[in-house]
């Protein structure tokens, strides 16, 4: 049964959201139209507006104060109203495949946010308040236009998935030490010239993809990532791999293809779990290739 009382939402909402298609859901997934929602806004738990060709979300959407899931993907939104930041019970916001250029400054007020999907937009930055989303576990901002990230993002201690691939990042925040729950980090297809030393704060990280950047080196601290199983740093400008890589005891797959490497550190032979090494299109001599293969007799090495 629906709960709550009638709550006023301006005519603008009804205008934008009218129609007979299902938009809003209350308990038990019973669905009804937005006309019903505007009459009973406090019952709305899910707001599903994907694929509506909408260009603007009315400010009065902020009246849906009990909404927990908002799905706005595949519309034409350029921005979201500031009032969406007042929806403090939202745990999932999916605004993928829009034309968002900015987010509300106060998005950090959505304290219960767990999953924030903003991929395939035109965001040029994330507001600093994003650092206040302390419950966030998944943040996908891939395929945007960001050149930098707010510093505070490195303190998101519950973040397990961070995908910022396919942006224009020149650097990452210096302090990533707070990202102790990170498991999957994807910073590929940016313009990064270096990775911060504090990346070793990601003690739980299993996979790092930093391919197709402009990295000329890797921090030695990367060797402290004892749980890392996949490291992809192909298609960069690397001239050397730090010796500390030999400490990455869990590493199973290493891709260093399309760089400027002439050798690999001998410590790599300590990587007993390394199953695959793809090192094509570098500057290894035949002698070096043979040496590396001798170091890694149980690894599938591809030059």
């Amino acid at each position: 049964m629906r709960k709550g009382k009638v709550y006023f939402i301006s005519a603008a909402v009804a205008l934008f959201l009218q129609g007979t298609a299902v938009f809003a859901h209350c308990d038990k997934d019973a669905a009804f139209t937005m006309q019903d929602a505007v009459k009973d806004s406090l019952c709305v738990k899910k707001l599903i507006l994907k694929l509506r060709k909408m260009e603007q979300l009315p400010a009065s959407v902020g009246s849906l104060r009990n909404v927990e899931l908002i799905d706005l993907q595949k519309n034409k939104f350029i921005s979201l109203p500031d009032e969406i930041s007042t929806l403090t019970k939202v745990t999932t916001l999916n605004a993928s495949h829009n034309s968002l250029k900015r987010l509300p400054d106060a998005i950090g007020n959505m304290k219960l946010m767990v999953n924030l999907q903003l991929d395939k937009n035109h965001l040029i930055e994330l507001p600093p308040s994003i650092a206040q989303l302390t419950e966030l576990t998944v943040l996908d901002v891939s395929y945007n236009d960001m050149a930098s990230l707010a510093d505070g993002i490195g303190g998101l201690s519950k973040l397990t998935v961070f995908n910022v691939s396919n942006n224009h990042l020149l650097f990452l925040p210096e302090d990533l030490s707070g990202m102790r729950s990170m498991e999957f980090l994807d910073v590929s297809d940016n313009k990064l010239t270096r990775l911060p030393a504090t990346i070793d704060g990601m003690v739980a990280v299993k996979e790092i993809n930093a391919e197709n950047n402009s990295l000329s080196s890797l921090p030695s601290e990367i060797g402290n990532l004892k749980n890392l199983k996949f490291l992809g740093v192909g298609t960069n400008s690397l001239t050397e791999i730090p010796k500390s890589i030999g400490k990455m005891a869990s590493l199973e797959m290493l891709i260093v293809a399309n760089n400027r490497l002439t050798t690999l550190p001998s410590s790599i032979k300590k990587l007993k779990n390394l199953k695959t090494l793809i090192a094509t299109n570098n500057k290894f001599s035949d002698k070096t290739k043979a040496k590396i293969k001798r170091w890694l007799p149980d690894t599938n090495v591809m030059f």
């Binding site: 038990k28 139209t33 999957f184 293809a257």
Partner: protein, 563 residues
């Protein structure tokens, strides 16, 4: 048999084939039709006058078990899976693209053809249970195996490993047994699993050659690669070797290439086949869509949406050859000979962007479904070359929709296809082959056949309000009696019904329980156009109900769920 059963094995291509093509299509073959007039999308479906269609299921229709709720949205792959090779009884595995997270799914329709009335009956509608595999995301296109299962392709890559098995949760091919409505448990340990060895990527579809061993797949992203998967043993997709295509030169120059093996032994390797492919120098075709095998000569056809081209090549095992553009380039204009009041006229229709799904019939005619441009369903005969085109237009689709997911019955009399996300504002009512009045204003899966094989023998059985030769986005007011919408469904309190009527008239509305008891009876005055009727369902017990609308000229019915 299905479309893939007739596909020649790529491994059979040890000699260069040069088959003289016969493009005289038999008169009753599904691919024998006069093209429809090219246009922008009207708000109804326009197919050749030689063909008719029947609506099978629409978004929001209730599942057979009320506890399962209603059929999800975003219809994609519409795969007919025959039972024992039958063309009259089988399953339709209907993909739901969902979103970037685990909100996809597959609906299984149990379908049976009634040879007397010549209509398809949907006897069961059931969602597949993906809970044991952490759900599925963006079930895009897919394919049919030769052993009565389907493969659903997850076209999204959200990271995460909720069950801690080392494999990320989403971004895989998933084999579905429609009979059990479940994911196939390959190792028999009681826990089904996705097809990890085929690699994690933004999967578009899957095609299997007739050897039950060799499969092809693509990834719909940039970079977009062509993969080949060779099963260790016939009939088991869970174990095999993965290869990626590397051309010998740049696209546009190379006609040959090599298959390079992609490591897929460990979960980490399976998770990262795209990175490995890049490292191995795979050729990036950018945003690949469907890949299929020609039944005529075994050539492999695939689509790049970014370039809006259909490519083809021959597979020689470790190498490929004869790579060429078969059709497309967005600016390409094709001469369409279409029918207009019995006359054959000519129009030049631009290919435009967005070529997407591919399906071959048994004669090698290639259907190309478009997600972009004007969202057409094209057909290209095997006689076609870029120099001497033979391109035909099978369908102009309803406004707002992307046609998706075409498959055929084994006898190639029936085509199964969906209309994804048509505009909710579409209002034109069409009478389908089962005599139902339908509106393409929500996700719809349909079957299409020659007039003689489906429904009434009247070849003009499909009656779009907008005449086929003139309807260019001219949504007319409804002139047919129809239930245009019924919502919410499931309902908890007020049920809203929109009835379209050609004129003012009185209607008698009754709601029946599944035991046939009338639980609501009321009268409504219909106005010309749409009339909203509100029914109080708040006192009904939970369950499935039928609502009927009776007027002086016809009866309508629909089902809904009370929660």
């Amino acid at each position: 048999m299905n479309k893939f059963l007739l596909a020649s094995s790529a491994l059979m291509l040890t000699t260069t084939l040069a088959i003289a093509q016969d493009c005289n299509i038999p008169i009753n073959h599904i691919s024998n039709f006069p093209s429809v007039k090219p246009s922008a999308q009207p708000d109804s479906l326009r197919i050749p006058s030689t063909h008719t269609f029947q609506m099978l299921v629409q978004e929001g229709d209730p599942y057979s078990n009320p506890l399962n709720g209603t059929v999800k949205s975003l219809f994609d792959f519409t795969g007919y899976v025959p039972i024992n090779g039958s063309s009259t009884i089988g399953f339709i595995d209907l993909n739901h693209e969902g979103s970037t997270t685990a909100t996809g799914g597959v609906t299984v329709l149990d379908v049976q053809f009634d040879g007397t009335d010549k209509v398809w009956n949907v006897t069961q509608k059931t969602p597949v249970d993906f809970a044991p595999v952490q759900g599925t995301g963006r079930n895009c296109s897919g394919g049919i195996t030769l052993w009565g299962t389907s493969v659903s392709s997850e076209e999204t890559l959200p990271s995460g490993d909720a069950d801690g098995d080392g494999y990320q949760d989403i971004g895989w091919q998933v084999e579905v047994n429609p009979a059990s409505r479940s994911v196939v448990d390959h190792d028999g340990d009681g826990n089904p699993e996705k097809l990890f060895k085929m690699g994690r990527m933004s999967h578009e579809n899957f095609v299997m050659s007739s050897d039950s061993i060799t499969c092809y797949e693509t990834n719909d992203e940039n970079p977009g690669y062509v993969f080949k998967y060779v099963c260790d043993s016939a009939g088991d997709l869970s174990k095999g070797k993965l290869y990626v295509l590397r051309l010998d030169d740049a696209i546009g120059i190379a006609t040959s290439g090599q298959w390079r093996q992609v490591p897929n032994g460990t979960p980490t390797e399976c998770n990262n086949v795209r990175s490995a492919a890049t490292g191995l120098g795979a050729t990036n075709f950018n945003s690949l869509e469907d890949i299929e095998i020609s039944p005529l000569d075994g050539m492999i056809y695939f689509v790049s949406k970014a370039s809006s081209r259909v490519y083809r090549f021959r597979d020689f095992g470790t190498t490929i050859n004869d790579l060429e553009i078969f059709a497309g380039n967005p600016s390409q204009n094709y001469e369409i000979h279409y029918e207009d009041d019995g006359d054959t006229l000519v129009a030049y229709e631009q290919w435009r962007d967005g070529n997407d799904n591919l399906t071959f019939d048994n004669l090698g005619n290639l259907y190309v479904i478009q997600d972009g441009g004007r969202n057409h369903i094209w057909m290209i005969t095997p006689c076609h070359t870029q120099a001497t085109p033979d391109v035909r237009l099978f369908a102009v689709t309803p406004a707002g929709c992307e046609p998706t997911g075409m498959t055929f019955s084994p006898d190639y009399k029936f085509m199964f296809v969906s209309m994804q996300h048509p505009d909710a504002s579409n209002v034109t009512v069409q009478k389908d082959a089962a005599g139902e009045y339908v509106v393409f204003n929500r996700e719809s899966a349909i079957v299409i056949a020659h007039n003689g094989f489906l429904g009434d023998t009247d070849s003009t059985f499909v009656e779009p309000e907008t005449p086929p030769t003139t309807g260019i986005g001219t949504a007319s007011a409804t002139a047919r009696l129809a239930i245009a919408n019924l919502y919410p469904n499931p309902v908890t309190s007020q049920l809203n019904m929109v009835v379209s009527s050609p004129d003012d008239r009185t209607a008698y509305v009754k709601v029946y329980s599944m035991t046939g008891t009338v639980v609501i009876a009321t009268e409504a005055n219909l106005s010309k156009g749409n009339t909203d009727i509100k029914l109080d369902a708040s006192t009904l017990a939970a369950g499935v109900y039928n609502v009927t609308v009776t007027t002086s000229t016809g009866n309508l019915s629909a089902r809904f769920i009370k929660q």
